[in-house]
């Protein structure tokens, strides 16, 4: 019989991603004993994202991160590229608003974990939690490959796959339509070349959100981010689409890299690292049960991702922080019941995290049904419009305009057009009201 008291701590957090670290550091700063268990060689070594972190949320946990953390570039430009097969229309918005920074997860997560250690959290790396220990329906600890650890509260911050939330029935298995598989490449390029191609200065960064191209007709999005001396390019496609269409994700990425709009941006670069990761896409309706006796679920494990905006780390950080604050109250009250921990759920509901999840609750339903319209036909049509608008081929303009307008009616048909408009109105309504 193991001596449980000896191996017992206040809180165990599984996973040292943004959600787990935010939870751990919140507890450590309040003087609670917290152990963060991470399966990777170091925090961040198993983690992949786009990506950019959002200043507002990071500051809530790390007020001085802008001077202390390993950051790549400060975002000053957002581009939205609508790709046809061979053409593209881009909308670009430029403002130096300090809203986000590109980072490298292997460096940034590690830095955050070091900060948590400095605050007094214990970080156990290279250790996989295989199972939760449940007694009388209450989670009382975790089983790793070698040992058992016990705690009053266990926080599941184990990411999108969250085998642990599934083990104790907080959620069902993920369906292929509720998750996107993403592949990405980090491509090394000279700093000066990046500055030139993206029209930015040394510390400035640009983001490109990509629609269409090789993903035309599929529920998928592409992305590019600039790092100090590398550029990230990747795409994420809903898993059921890949399964159905018999696509190899890296071949789609290769096609994207060869698109005439994208290829010049990465030309001459060398591949630094290839990676892949899943992104939760189920949205509000697929959020699992967030609390039970002795346990809370945070971050990707709770499906807290706002896909349209590529926001995940901020929802992870804030959900982790709120779970940490709840755990502090529960420890002070010595009450680790589901009822006590459900304060986490209330806090989450009051924060932007759950409000944003609710705002987009219908987005993916609509997109799944109307993807042939919104992620294929109209994307092509945007480009077709500009092709027409920019052509000087001797055809009178008015004739061109009418031809273009007529084509929409003949291509789509009145009924489909009506359905498209209806879907848009319904969607916009659900977002705004």
């Amino acid at each position: 019989m193991i001596n449980r008291e000896e191996k017992k701590t206040d809180v165990i957090v599984v996973g040292a991603g943004p959600a787990g670290i935010a939870c751990g550091i919140t507890l450590a700063r309040a003087g609670k004993e917290v152990v963060i268990i991470e399966r990777g060689l170091f925090a961040g070594s198993k983690n992949v994202f786009g990506g950019a972190i959002y200043t507002h949320s990071v500051k809530e946990l790390f007020p001085n991160f802008e001077t202390e953390a390993p950051l790549e570039r400060r975002t000053v430009e957002h581009n939205y590229a609508i790709l046809g097969e061979k053409d593209a229309t881009t909308i670009s918005y430029k403002k130096d608003g300090n809203g986000s920074y590109s980072i490298i997860r292997a460096k940034f997560d590690r830095w955050m974990a070091d900060e948590a250690k400095k605050a007094g959290a214990y970080l156990v790396e290279e250790t996989v939690v295989r199972e939760l220990i449940v007694e009388n329906g209450k989670v009382i600890g975790v089983r790793t490959e070698l040992e058992e650890y016990f705690a009053d509260i266990v926080v599941l911050a184990d990411g999108v796959n969250s085998l642990l939330a599934r083990q104790i029935g907080l959620r069902k298995d993920i369906e292929t339509k509720d998750v996107a598989l993403s592949v990405k490449e980090v491509i090394k390029l000279d700093k000066d070349i990046i500055n030139q191609r993206f029209n930015i200065k040394d510390d400035e960064g640009a983001i490109v959100e990509i629609f269409g191209g090789p993903m035309l007709g599929m529920l998928g999005l592409g992305f590019m981010y600039t790092n100090t001396d590398s550029v990230t390019i990747g795409l994420g496609v809903t898993l059921n689409e890949l399964v159905k269409a018999n696509y190899r994700p890296f071949e789609l990425l290769e096609q994207l890299k060869n698109h005439p709009k994208i290829a010049p941006l990465i030309e001459g670069g060398t591949l630094k690292e290839y990676s892949a990761h899943m992104i939760p896409e189920g949205g509000y309706k697929k959020i699992p049960k967030l609390v039970s006796d002795g346990v809370m679920v945070v971050g990707d494990a709770a499906m807290l991702v706002n896909n349209l905006h590529w926001e995940g780390t901020n929802l992870a950080l804030i959900s982790g922080k709120l779970a940490g604050e709840t755990a502090i109250e529960a420890l002070d009250d010595k009450d680790f019941s589901k009822k006590s921990l459900s304060r986490y759920e209330k806090k989450l509901n009051q924060s932007f995290v759950m409000k944003d999840m609710k705002t987009y609750k219908d987005l993916f339903d609509v997109m799944h049904v109307r993807k042939k319209a919104f992620l294929d036909y109209y994307l092509r049509k945007v480009n077709a419009f500009f092709e027409m608008f920019t052509s000087a081929d001797g055809v009178p303009k008015r004739e061109n305009y009418w031809k273009f307008i007529k084509s929409i009616f003949t291509d789509r048909g009145i009924i489909e057009l009506f359905k498209d408009v209806f879907a848009i109105i319904k969607l916009v309504w659900s977002i705004l009201v």
Binding site: R39, L41, V48, A106, V128, V179, N246, A276
Partner: protein, 91 residues
């Protein structure tokens, strides 16, 4: 397209046994064998002669997609041991 040149950019510490274990009988009856194409690391190949999967588990990126997508929902999938598997230096 060959994915190997991409995988060369990664740091791996392979285990001696696979953390991915399919149910052989299920794979024989599986229609899509989707694991052989959706995997971002090309871990699974179908061996027609032996009627079984070849599993290059040491190339796995630990994304979990094959587990979610498995047609028979029977792929036994777990994380490699704490000291094993892939390490991303960028992410």
């Amino acid at each position: 397209m060959n994915i190997d040149k991409n995988l060369y950019t990664l740091k791996y510490s392979p285990d001696t046994e696979s953390h991915l274990v399919p149910v052989k009988e299920d794979c024989k009856l599986c229609v899509s064998r989707c694991c052989t194409y959706i995997c971002p690391a090309g871990v699974y190949e179908w061996n027609e002669e032996k009627q079984e999967l070849i599993i290059n588990y040491e190339n796995c990126l630990e994304c979990g997609a094959c587990r979610v997508a498995c047609e028979k929902q029977s792929l036994k999938w777990e994380y490699p041991k704490g000291t094993k598997g892939v390490t991303f230096k960028q992410g």
